[in-house]
Amino acid sequence: MESVGSIILYIVVALAMVVFSVLAVTTRKILRAATYLLFTLFAAACVYFMLDYEFLGAVQIAVYAGGIVVLFVFSILLTSRPGHNSERLSSKSRVLGSVAALAMLLISGYALVSRCALYAAKPALDTPTMQQVGQSMMSTGHGGYLLPFEAVSVLLLACIIGGVVIARKR
């Protein structure tokens, strides 16, 4: 970590991510969960900015925060009555869920610590420009992503049609 500012930034972002994700899965009000998710996604966008992937951060904000969370909010409003809380979870399932999550944390944390990956220095990097990103997205051959790009476009089309078909009134 080079500067105090970046350390502070890191701490803020990391705290936001952890706190909001924990809140998102523990709150009983589903609309609040969606809001906490939004904050978590913002924090994730910040992470991308910190990694100098500006385009990725922008996409994260535009697609996730702007698109997906709005969808969530819409669907929540469509499927639940306002002010309706989801029922309290039984302690047994909470304990079991925590155990699973902690086990998960233990295993991946152990991997992370044992590889000493915590304190690696960030190598210098020229931020990929928009032009570079656009060119590799539209090129073929090594470092080109035209095929996945097209595949994703077809997938989106299929998704649109599928959504219409599934959700239409019979």
Binding site: L41, V47, Y53, L56, V63, S75, E87, C159, A167
Partner: protein, 97 residues
């Protein structure tokens, strides 16, 4: 360093996924997990192979696919709600034996 919050986020996703009953909440947990993985891609790309861009593009496409998947899942949930008036996974157990 950035992997630690991502890891915690993932575990939160797991917790939510297996404990929440509302299908939308489950979907939210799913998004959390996906985001954690996305961050992992970006971080590994940035720290280990800074001159390459594969991780970034992977994240990019993952975001696009996640968007598509969410849209479809929500369409299904709304449809289910319309027919069953309920989106609690415990009650949606018609798909057994």
């Amino acid at each position: 360093m950035l992997l630690v919050p991502a890891m915690i986020m993932f575990c939160c996703g797991v917790y939510g996924f297996i404990t929440r009953r509302n299908m939308i909440a489950i979907l939210i947990s799913l998004e959390l997990m996906l985001n954690a993985v996305d961050i992992n891609f970006a971080v590994f790309n940035r720290y280990l192979w800074p001159e390459a861009t594969e991780g970034m593009f992977f994240t990019l496409f993952a975001i696009a696919i996640a968007a598509a998947e969410t849209a479809l899942a929500i369409a299904i949930i709304i449809n289910l709600y319309r027919s069953a008036k309920n989106i609690d996974v415990r009650d949606l157990n018609k798909l057994k034996y």
